[in-house]
């Protein structure tokens, strides 16, 4: 509890800054979980016959179709349509109004709350149309109607006269008489005068023999609404409901008039489903008795009556089975036959937690209206299953096809596919189905981040007159869409058949129609104008320009357009290694020529101003890109980047124990993180010791951060027992004064063996040195890198250290696996450490960056970084470091043989050649194999080269020329990016900076931790409905295709002006998703 003084202070602060008094909000709901809809109002009792003036008009519940008809659009100044038989015949024979009612089930209190709204076209809705009624006006507050113990689902009976609840807590059902409930809530005096209390009938579910079936229900659906408008309600409910009983492995079809099970679907212990009669029995769960048998546990149901085909199908999902059962229902809505949809389940542990069936849909079309009867892609009907792998599986069940669709096909393979039917559902396991995008969990639709889907339903959204929504904007839904609630409170939308957008990639402007936005069953994107180009309007004509980064992603209007870099890539260099004038010699992201109306210039291939084909190839999978992410390429950089605000690939600085014994030097971590981090042999372990500037904070209690007096390495202490540090200083001197950088030997999930690391010249050629003399030349060159002078003027002294060209067995071989000679710094016994660079120590004639210490030096926990060797680490701020490493059966770290070739995060300076015959987009060769990734090739690089006057290093006019030249390059592909790093090595300059005439060979000049960063914006940004539930548990389709989201969770407010709530219910208009009614 907050101390009272703090509380008072908070109140005062709030009071001073908020002068508008806030009335306490009346909370109406208490953890809602489900909703059902009804229609109530004036009803002429025609009994289905023609209307006459002498027929009685009553206030009554009636089929929901009656309210649907009253809500149909109609011209201004004309009366709303009325159902047949309900026409106004005279002033006296006028049925008056009717309204929709929502019955909101609240599980914990076991009550039903009432909501009400008028009949009117959906496009006339605004906020505040839906209100919660008080079901018991005589009791203070807003009250619900008690229906049962732990009810789990509510449904309206077939004719709209009763609300039925399945009560798990009491293993029975309740029937709420709608007439009595609404009458009591809206006319309490009349209800009391007529002694008409709210009528709730509890009834047992029985089998055919009349024996009670006391099983706990998990889900319920009612048969499709029917009934004749004009008939009076009967004394009992009408029609069938299907109730799922998981522990009985049964979906029971219950006649709601009698409570008897009359049909159903039951699973045997092997999971085989069969149609049953009412001759069933179940464990008495509410009596605690009965053994629970094996078999699928059905927990979710959906029943869809397709109006075009008249198909009636019941989908059943089981919590412990990868099979969705589809029951074909007859005209009486009873099962006629069963079929299975088998969802891919390689781990053998898949379960289904929610299902939804779409209508029959004509696939394809982009004209802005629903074209079910003339669609190019033929017809499909999908079943959606939220599965325990946190994805939404999709299968096409049209004509009992029952094949699962792969929603994760890598768009690189679909770029040129124009067959809408193919793109509508690519069957899982079909040889013709291309590979998935790397990192996909499976074939199902994935939400973003760690979102856990909880519920889905499908909505048909047509265009309407006076539609002011802007074509191409995310909020303009025309076609069929799914709405998916997630436990994190986000509500996603799903393109099932978007009839307002391209169906395949537009060859003329591919960036306008990327695959994830074209094809069926993909999360809907939330950014507008994806096809925007670097153009400006001149005299009414769009003309290309180059001086633009595209829309400001941080602007008040929000982001838009396609993926691109924000500004140019930035470089971060260690100081004193490369002179600023020479940074052009460092590797860089390829630049291309932009031909613009304003100017011609070199632009990054990642930029908005890059040519369309370049943008198309650089960003091959929009869905593979996070909405906004910074990517860093760090030479020999870390494989882990977690900070206090992000957790994607492990802490940047880790901590483990270090052991030194006869088996060598080993980092041991009981959490076994190393394969997960992607460590490979020859990677670098940089021990970080402790930071002496922080005192002993980095060390355990009882330890001190000790710095050896001879150490020349800044900021690198070592945690040692306070009482031992001085005593061990001498014994640990070599360790404590070195850089403490090691090479990884063997890798296992819990152990890394560390090898002492020789000090190698930074400019040692990537394809190997040839002689000691060459090494000495390159050592001198390395020193000159720091000089701002042109080579002809540079008098930097030669490097006084000695280098030997030799194979270092403790470092990686060359790209073919052969020994690679490197320039290794050497020392003499006479001079010892003085022969070595600071931080290197002399050991057996070689300068070492890290040596094997006595165990006593490393008894404290060791802080360290894991860095890649001989490569850039490619790390996304949200994606992290990508790698293909897994643990083998012995605990060792190995490359996953099944990993996608795009699952890489290392970008070297020298690689195997690219294959010119391979598909440039996918890298796939004709024989089905893939070219190396990364791979080396020659590309055109456009840049501003210095324009020296002949024979001098004096700039001419202009000082630079825009030149396109062939350049050595490394092509790198990952899930969402294909980028090209040019000039991985540099031959040196002959006379002037940047003349490239040095002839030194393939010399790498990148210093450790040299970093290139680029922010990529406008990646995939899911279109979310603008509501903020705390814990939404259900999405359901309401009247007029309205979207209802039921939020069971508590919202705990920290603001005095915002109430804490115990659940909410949202109504969102599918034709206008910004129109939201909120009940709380």
């Amino acid at each position: 509890m907050m101390p009272w003084r703090s509380t008072l202070g908070l109140l005062l602060v709030v009071a001073c800054s908020d002068t508008t008094p806030s009335a306490p909000t009346q909370l109406n709901l208490d953890r809602p979980i489900d909703i059902a809809f009804a229609c109530y109002g004036g009803l002429r009792l025609t009994d289905g016959n023609a209307a006459t003036v002498d027929q009685q008009i009553v206030q009554s519940a009636q089929p929901i179709e009656a309210c649907d008809i009253r809500s149909q659009p109609h011209p201004d100044n004309t009366p709303a349509p009325l159902p047949p038989g309900q026409e106004t015949l005279s002033a006296a024979s006028n049925t008056g109004t009717a309204a929709y009612y929502g019955f909101i089930l609240q599980s914990a209190p076991g009550t039903v709350a009432l909501a009400q709204w008028d009949t009117k076209p959906t496009n006339l809705f605004a906020g505040g149309d839906v209100v919660v009624l008080d079901a018991d006006p005589l009791t203070p507050g807003k009250n619900g109607i008690t229906v049962g113990e732990d009810p789990v689902a509510i449904a309206t009976d077939t004719v709209g006269c009763y609300e039925l609840t399945a009560n798990a807590g009491s293993c029975d059902m309740s029937a709420l008489d709608i007439n009595s409930a609404i009458n009591y809530a809206t006319d309490i005096s009349g209800a009391l005068a007529n002694q008409e209390p709210v009528r709730v009938d509890r009834f047992a579910v029985t089998n055919m023999s009349g024996q009670p079936v006391r099983a706990k229900a998990a889900a319920m659906v009612a048969e499709p609404a029917a009934g004749t408008i004009g008939k009076a309600c009967s004394a009992t409910p009408t029609g069938l409901v299907y109730v799922a009983y998981p522990n009985c492995h049964l979906v029971a079809g219950i006649d709601t008039a009698t409570g008897k099970i009359v049909t159903g679907v039951q699973y045997d212990a092997l999971g085989v489903a069969s149609i049953v009669t009412g001759d069933v029995s179940c464990p008495d769960e509410c009596g605690g008795g009965g053994a629970i048998g094996m078999g699928p546990r059905p927990v979710t149901l959906d029943l869809e009556h397709d109006p075009r085909s008249d198909r009636r199908a019941l989908a059943i999902g089981s919590q412990n089975s990868n099979i969705v059962t589809i029951a074909e229902l007859g005209l009486d809505n009873r099962p006629l036959s069963l079929s299975n949809v088998v969802l891919q389940d390689p781990a053998g542990n898949l379960g289904v937690t929610d299902v939804a069936i779409s209508p029959n849909i004509g696939m394809g079309g982009s004209a802005g209206f629903i074209n079910d009867d003339s669609a190019l892609g033929g017809e499909a009907q999908f079943v959606y299953a939220i599965t325990t792998d946190n994805t939404i599986r999709v299968a096409d069940i049209f004509n009992v096809l029952n094949k699962e669709c792969d929603t994760q096909v890598d768009p690189r393979y679909l770029h040129d596919v124009k067959n809408v039917k193919t793109l509508s559902c690519m069957f899982v396991g079909d040889p013709a189905t291309p590979p998935r995008r790397p990192g996909a969990k499976g074939p199902g639709i994935e939400l973003v981040g760690h979102a856990v889907p909880t519920s889905i339903d499908i909505f048909k959204v047509d265009h309407f007159d006076a539609d002011t929504r802007i074509p191409g904007t995310p909020a303009r839904l025309i076609g069929y869409f799914g709405v998916i609630a997630a436990a994190n409170g986000a509500t996603y939308t799903l393109n099932v058949d978007n009839d307002d957008f391209a169906d395949f990639v537009d060859t003329a402007n591919p960036v306008s129609s990327p695959i994830p936005l074209d094809i069926a069953n993909q999360l809907r994107d939330g950014l507008p104008t994806r096809g925007a180009l670097a153009e400006e309007l001149v005299d009414g004509t769009e003309i290309a320009i180059c001086d633009t980064d595209g829309p400001d992603p941080d602007g008040a209007a929000g982001n838009s357009a396609g993926p691109r870099s924000v500004g140019n890539p930035t470089r971060t260099l260690p100081t004193g290694v490369i002179a600023p004038e020479k940074v052009g010699a460092l590797p860089s992201i390829r630049q291309v020529k932009c031909l613009g109306h304003d100017e011609n210039r070199a632009v990054s291939e990642l930029s908005f101003a890059a040519p369309i084909d370049v943008r198309d190839s650089v960003f091959p999978d929009l869905r593979g890109l996070r909405n906004d992410e910074s990517w860093t390429m760090t030479w020999e950089g870390s494989v882990s980047t977690d900070s206090s605000s992000s957790a994607v690939d492990g802490p940047a600085v880790r901590e483990s124990q270090l052991f030194v014994d006869a088996a060598g030097m080993r980092l041991v971590d009981q959490s076994h993180p190393y394969c997960d981090a992607g460590v490979e042999p020859f990677d670098i372990v940089q021990l970080r010791g402790c930071d002496p500037s922080l005192g002993d904070v980095d060390c355990p209690l009882g330890y001190t951060c000790f710095v050896h007096p001879n150490s020349q390495v800044t900021g690198l202490g070592a945690c040692m027992l306070t009482g031992e540090a001085d005593r061990l200083a001498n014994a640990c001197k070599s360790f404590l004064t070195s850089l403490r950088r090691y090479t990884v030997g063997q890798t296992a999930s819990g152990t890394l063996t560390l090898l002492p690391r020789k000090h190698v010249l930074r400019t040692s050629p990537v394809d190997g040195c040839t002689s000691d003399d060459q090494c000495q030349t390159l050592a001198n060159y390395a020193l000159k890198n720091a000089s701002s002078l042109n080579p002809v003027d540079d008098m930097t002294a030669a490097d006084s250290h000695h280098y030997s060209c030799a194979v270092d067995d403790l470092r990686a071989p060359d790209i073919d696996g052969l020994p690679l000679k490197r320039c290794i710094q050497t020392c003499t016994p006479e001079n010892g450490d003085a022969d070595c660079d600071p931080g290197s120590v002399c050991s057996n004639g070689t300068c070492m960056e890290g040596v094997i210490p006595p165990q006593a030096c490393v008894n404290a926990p060791q802080r360290y970084e894991l860095r890649v060797h001989d490569a850039f680490s490619m790390v996304g701020s949200k994606t992290g470091f990508t790698h293909p490493i897994i643990q083998d059966t012995n605990g060792g770290c190995v490359k996953d043989p099944t990993a996608s070739p795009l699952q890489v995060g290392r970008l070297p300076l020298h690689a195997k050649p690219c294959d010119p015959t391979a598909d440039p987009r996918t890298g796939k060769r004709m024989d089905g194999t893939f070219e190396p990734n990364p791979c080396e090739l020659t590309v055109d690089e456009t840049e501003n080269q210095p324009n020296y006057l002949a024979g001098t290093c004096t700039f001419g006019s202009p000082a630079t020329n825009l030149v396109t030249r062939p350049a050595d390059a490394i092509k790198f592909k990952n899930r969402g990016l294909t980028l090209t790093l040019v000039d991985p090595t540099y031959p040196g300059d002959a006379s002037c900076i940047g003349d490239r005439q040095g002839g030194l060979g393939n010399v790498p000049i990148v210093p450790p931790l040299f970093q290139t960063s680029v922010r990529i914006t406008a990646g995939f940004q899911p279109f979310l409905i603008g509501i903020q539930p705390a814990y939404p548990v259900k999405v359901t389709r309401g009247p007029g295709e309205s979207i209802w989201v039921i939020d069971e969770g508590d919202f705990l407010s920290t603001s005095i002006s915002t109430p804490s709530t115990r659940g909410k219910v949202y109504r969102v208009e599918s034709q206008s998703v910004g129109t939201i009614n909120l009940l709380e």
């Binding site: 807590g169 946190n390 508590d1050």
Partner: protein, 462 residues
């Protein structure tokens, strides 16, 4: 992550012990009380051996024979708290006689409001002369199995603050050289790191505790400082405070407090990866425990962390973790969060890389102000039992699939700790505010499944 407090926090830890601690030690509490009131003798304020008084923490022996109950003495009626030992065989026998034959033994009555429940005086269940006295305001009990029937109880107590360690040899608890219902001596009451008052004191508000029997240590969380304390507890030696780490979690933006709360361990190849939750941040920090080869004290080794962003985050309401527990396989972590009130299920199975996945896979809305939980598979899969202090209820959640509430039981006033005995198919709940233990039958197929069949202790009036 900062290994331990910044310099000014270190100073805070190094200040002399709190007044409460000084008063408690060596019986000086009694002396102080006498100064103020001069009304009660030592014998008069000696806690009873055969009664519960504000039972908070509880733990079941690994062989399911004993229930250890920590009595918090929250209204300071007595001079100390206590641990009492309940014979679960007697509990089983009386509850069985009651549920099968409706036998009502002497001293027991049928609960008039919950007719399926028998209420009995606790004395018949508490094994005489087995208890021990500890500090006030005990919060939790963890059991370290030292083998051959020997146990060690690790008991954080807020009053001092300190951590008591009490050995159990199969017949009685002992934490002192004195005989009888003795108060734990200074050796058994851990208050200083490395037993060195000059190094650091135990941080305030010890909260939850987890013990790793195989590796001989326990981890204690601290509710208001966010510190985490490592207790070195070799099975053949004394327990000591080996390490304290602070600064792990960010401070609550409203209160400024940091809080470490739930703690649980997941076995990976014989070692535990310790998961620690927070009341002030929606983050789970993991640790391993390092043992240096020179036999110096063990220390914390911080490992990866992850955020609880799969429930409620979009509404800006995610966090305030309380109880945490793993499934027996370690593949699932069940975690009680208060914002929004939810039981969250995390997949902690090992990925192909050998490291736990640590991702949310399901959640269930539960009561507000939930505190602790217990996980047990009594024959038909895991169930999670969650205490709801405010509502006097226990939520029973079936965590399979999307997870769902299977039952909600009214158990008594102020339910706090919930523990389970798998072989007995029973769950035990301490009702702090009424001085009782509720016994829930959870046997599959039992007619009284998920019902409070026995209430141990006469209900104390509000």
């Amino acid at each position: 992550m900062i290994r331990r407090s910044s310099p000014h926090q270190a100073t805070l830890l190094g200040v002399p012990r709190s007044k409460a601690a000084v008063l408690f030690s060596s019986g000086r509490f009694v002396f102080a009380a006498g100064l103020v009131a001069c009304t009660a003798s030592a014998e008069q304020v000696r806690p009873p051996e055969d009664q519960f008084f504000f039972p908070t923490g509880a733990a079941v022996a690994p062989d399911d024979t004993r229930l250890f109950v920590a009595n918090a003495n929250s209204e300071l009626r007595y001079d100390s708290g206590a641990i009492t030992v309940v014979d679960l065989a007697i509990v089983d026998q009386i509850s069985l006689d009651w549920t099968v034959a409706k036998t009502v033994p002497d001293g027991c009555t049928q609960d008039p409001d919950h007719i399926e429940t028998l209420t009995c005086d606790e004395a018949r269940f508490i094994i005489p002369h087995t208890g021990a006295r500890i500090g006030n305001f005990a919060t939790d009990i963890a059991i370290q199995d030292r083998g051959a029937g020997n146990l060690r109880l690790i008991v954080p107590t807020r009053g001092d603050p300190s951590v008591a360690w009490v050995d159990f040899d199969g017949s009685k608890l002992s934490c002192s050289t004195s005989e009888g219902f003795a108060l734990c001596d200074e050796t058994h009451r851990l208050a200083y790191v490395h037993n060195n008052p000059d190094l650091a004191v135990l941080p305030d508000e010890p909260f939850n505790v987890f013990a790793d029997s195989a590796n001989g240590y326990a981890v204690v969380t601290h509710l208001t400082t966010g510190a985490v304390t490592l207790i070195n507890s070799p099975s053949d030696g004394n327990a000591t405070i080996a390490d304290v780490t602070t600064g792990i979690f960010a401070a609550d933006s409203l209160t400024g407090l940091r809080g470490s709360t739930g703690v649980a361990g997941r076995q990976i190849n014989g070692s535990d990866l310790i998961y620690v939750g927070s009341r002030s941040e929606n983050r789970i920090q993991t640790f391993t425990i390092g043992r240096p080869v020179n036999d110096a004290d063990p220390y914390f080794i911080p490992s990866n962390f992850f955020f609880l962003d799969s429930v409620g985050a979009n509404a800006g309401s995610s966090g305030d973790t309380r109880g945490m527990a793993f499934s027996s396989s370690g593949d699932r972590l069940y975690l009680v969060n208060r914002k929004p009130p939810s039981l969250q299920v995390l997949d902690t199975s090992l990925k192909t890389t050998g490291y736990p996945a640590n991702v949310g896979i399901a959640a269930t809305d539960i009561c507000r102000q939930a505190s602790t939980l217990s996980v047990m598979d009594s024959g038909d899969g895991d169930r999670v039992y969650i205490t709801c202090f405010q509502d006097g209820q226990v939520y029973i959640v079936d965590p399979r699939g999307q997870s769902s509430v299977e039952d909600i039981l009214t158990v008594g006033r102020g339910p706090y700790a919930v523990v389970s005995a798998p072989t007995r198919k029973k769950v035990y709940v301490t009702n702090v505010l009424e001085d009782t233990i509720a016994v829930i039958d959870v046997a599959p197929g039992s007619p009284t499944r998920n019902r409070v069949v026995l209430r141990i202790g006469e209900v104390k009036p509000p």
